[in-house]
């Protein structure tokens, strides 16, 4: 009952013209960014981070969440019509949706995707409404050792679940954690790895690193020649509103996608991409028409798009309850919170209930705005994406340069962003995970502080991490997460029949 009261208060807090306007701006920008090939929610939020600094914190965060949700909806448009996934989580929508569009059912596919996203997004936010405050209440009892164990578990999840080999993801994580140690030591105050410069005394400024890694790297990657694009014209779209029979057939795939998506989203590092692939696999087993998979399946679209959106709601649970981001976008959102002097996690619900509940309430409103916009405004977004393509890269680089400069009015931040853009591009090409680096950078200081504080309390005894039950369980799971995948791979390798030389 208390949850409903808080939620209503949150809803009341955002039912004013500025908050609703920022919500609308966020979802519109998000849909547009999601529809742009090669741009994702992380890049979109990173670019707007410096601009939002001058806004009211609640409205800025509402706008960021709107962008996050909007990109999930928007990614489907270019996937279905241009066969270009706006984000990696839209790969399967492109795979199935484009084939449906070729058969003249692209409009229905987009309609089903929008409705599925709305249902999953709303159910996901309902689950978030109940889980996040409950988890936050439990987290209030955590000491430094438990906090370190939770962060270590997030790191283990990120290393073992991110795409690519675990060893490379672990190297990326260490790189991010080492970068987080640059600057003054949090407990003693000694300068670490600053090489005598004043520039590094405060550590790496987060926004330039983040914008370099995500916005510039993505723009550089989008410059690569990927061959000619085959596209579906708007006249081939057909009707957008699905029939009652189509809706009835899609309800179960949507439900399955929502459940898989939300659970996957809660796990740090798993994210929307894994959620969509998992739900695709599960749906293929349960679908009444498994033969349609790969040839243009409406069940696949309903399931993967629902999983995609439910995972974004799920990924907000560890961020809001424990201040642990599980993906690049939530890591950037965390930096948005920190930029305004707010720390998500248990204390957010206690110290700033208006912001915590306002943000949750805004997610319901965002979903309503998005489903309307994505059913009515698909032709507009397709038109806008096509018109803006010739100058989008130039616009993004100009905004990022201006935005990064505006943070401290120092050109050195712009140089740092450029260097991070190049490093990020090279590391991506080499198969290293930028998400792991970013999580290491964001959570590194908190991890070190919790680790060392726990040891101060225990007078230097490492046994403190194994004496407390929660801590022990979390660290055991952590160990399993790190050890199980290589062992599983070895077993699989041994089972595989040897090929003749």
């Amino acid at each position: 009952m208390e949850v409903f009261t808080h939620l209503l208060e949150g809803l009341q807090g955002i039912m004013n013209a500025p908050s609703l306007l920022y919500c609308l701006v966020g979802v519109t920008l998000g849909t547009f960014i999601g529809a742009l090939p090669g741009m994702g929610s992380s890049a979109g939020i990173a670019i707007l981070l410096p601009i939002a600094f001058s806004l009211d914190p609640k409205n800025a965060l509402i706008m960021f969440c709107g962008i996050f949700y909007g990109t999930m909806y928007g990614g489907t448009i270019t996937s279905v019509l241009l066969n270009i996934p706006g984000e990696s989580s839209s790969v399967l929508s492109a795979f199935e949706g484009f084939k449906l569009a070729k058969k003249g059912r692209g409009g229905v596919a987009l309609g089903i995707a929008a409705i599925g996203s709305f249902i999953a997004g709303t159910l996901g936010v309902i689950a978030l409404t109940f889980f996040a405050p409950e988890l936050a209440n439990k987290a209030l009892l955590f000491g430094p050792a438990e906090k370190f164990a939770v962060i270590a578990l997030a790191f283990a999840f990120v290393s073992s679940l991110s795409s690519g080999p675990m060893s490379k993801s672990f190297v990326s994580l260490c790189l991010g954690l080492i970068a987080a140690t640059v600057g003054q030591d949090i407990l003693v105050g000694d300068s670490r790895l600053t090489f005598g410069t004043t520039f590094l005394t405060e550590g790496f400024e987060f926004a330039p690193v983040c914008i370099g890694f995500f916005a510039l790297t993505e723009i550089m990657s989008s410059m690569e020649d990927k061959g000619p694009i085959e596209e579906i014209s708007l006249s081939q779209l057909g009707r957008i509103i699905p029939s009652a029979r189509e809706m009835k057939e899609s309800i179960l795939p949507m439900t399955r996608g929502t459940i898989v998506g939300f659970i996957t989203g809660v796990m740090p590092g798993a994210g929307a991409t894994i959620a969509t692939f998992l739900s695709y696999g599960i749906e293929k087993k349960f679908s009444k028409h498994p033969e349609e998979f790969g040839e243009g399946s409406m069940d696949a679209i309903a399931s993967t798009e629902s999983a995609n959106n439910a995972s974004s709601a799920g990924s907000m649970v560890p961020l809001m309850a424990l201040a642990i981001p599980g993906s690049a976008t939530t890591a950037i959102l965390l930096s948005g919170f920190l930029m305004f002097g707010l720390t998500p996690g248990p204390m957010l619900f206690v110290q700033h209930p208006d912001i915590a509940w306002g943000l949750i309430a805004s997610m319901y409103v965002s979903n309503v705005m998005l489903v309307t916009m994505n059913i009515v405004g698909i032709p507009f977004f397709v038109w806008a994406v096509k018109k803006s393509t010739p100058f989008m890269s130039a616009l993004v680089v100009t905004i990022t340069v201006a935005g990064v400069y505006s943070i401290n009015q120092y050109m050195r931040d712009v140089w740092l962003m450029l260097i991070c853009g190049l490093v990020g591009f090279i590391l991506t090409k080499l198969g290293y995970s930028l998400v792991s680096i970013l999580l290491g950078l964001v959570l590194g200081r908190l991890a070190e502080y919790s680790f060392r504080s726990a040891l101060i309390i225990s007078d230097g005894s490492f046994a403190t991490f194994f004496e407390k039950p929660i801590c022990l369980v979390l660290l055991i799971i952590c160990g399993i997460m790190l050890v199980a995948p290589p062992i599983w791979n070895e077993i699989k390798k041994k089972k595989r029949p040897k090929q003749p030389a």
Binding site: S167, T181, M220, V401, A402, L418, L422, L430, R452
Partner: protein, 163 residues
């Protein structure tokens, strides 16, 4: 078998990457050992302990990546086109253009430098080149629009030094 693997440019590229990161970890470890204390009288662990631990872990992980590349699965490479020079031409050109324009900012100011950036980017790096007049209009609109937006937020972007 290993020499066969080394002929693959992707494996070679990945090996170089892992080796550079391993050297970086060694360098960080060396700097930490030579400049920071590992123990401290009041905080038990000194400021050097944690970064040293991380650099050791990163070094071991890099060695494991190298081992996997040489003796393990093909999956360890996990890269697509690092040495595809034709595909890399445009991203690298974009980066160099950004560097030149940011370096020219004290001389040309934000508006001048970014106008040049936008115009050159749209002329040489876009897949579909627009007519000259549209490239000029887009460049002016982007730079003017961004400058106006930040001005409205009371943020003043760099002006040329001679103004």
């Amino acid at each position: 078998m290993q020499s066969e693997k080394l002929k693959d440019p992707k494996v070679r590229g990945s090996l170089v990457g892992a080796a550079v990161l391993a050297l970086l970890a060694l360098f960080v470890g060396g700097v930490v050992l030579s400049t920071l204390k590992l123990r401290h009288p009041t905080t038990v662990l000194g400021p050097g302990f944690y970064p040293l631990l991380l650099s050791v872990l990163m070094f071991i992980a890099c060695l494991y990546v190298i081992y996997s590349l040489l003796f393990g699965d093909r999956e360890a490479v996990n890269m697509k086109s690092v040495l595809d020079r034709a595909a890399l031409k445009k991203p690298m050109a974009l980066f160099l253009l950004s560097v030149v324009c940011v370096a020219a900012m004290p001389l040309l100011g934000f508006m001048g430098a970014m106008f040049v950036f936008c115009f050159i980017q749209m002329t040489y790096l876009e897949k579909e080149k627009q007519p000259l007049i549209w490239r000029l209009v887009y460049s002016a609109a982007i730079v003017g629009g961004v400058y106006w937006l930040f001005r409205a937020l009371m943020i003043y972007l760099p002006a040329p030094f001679w103004l």
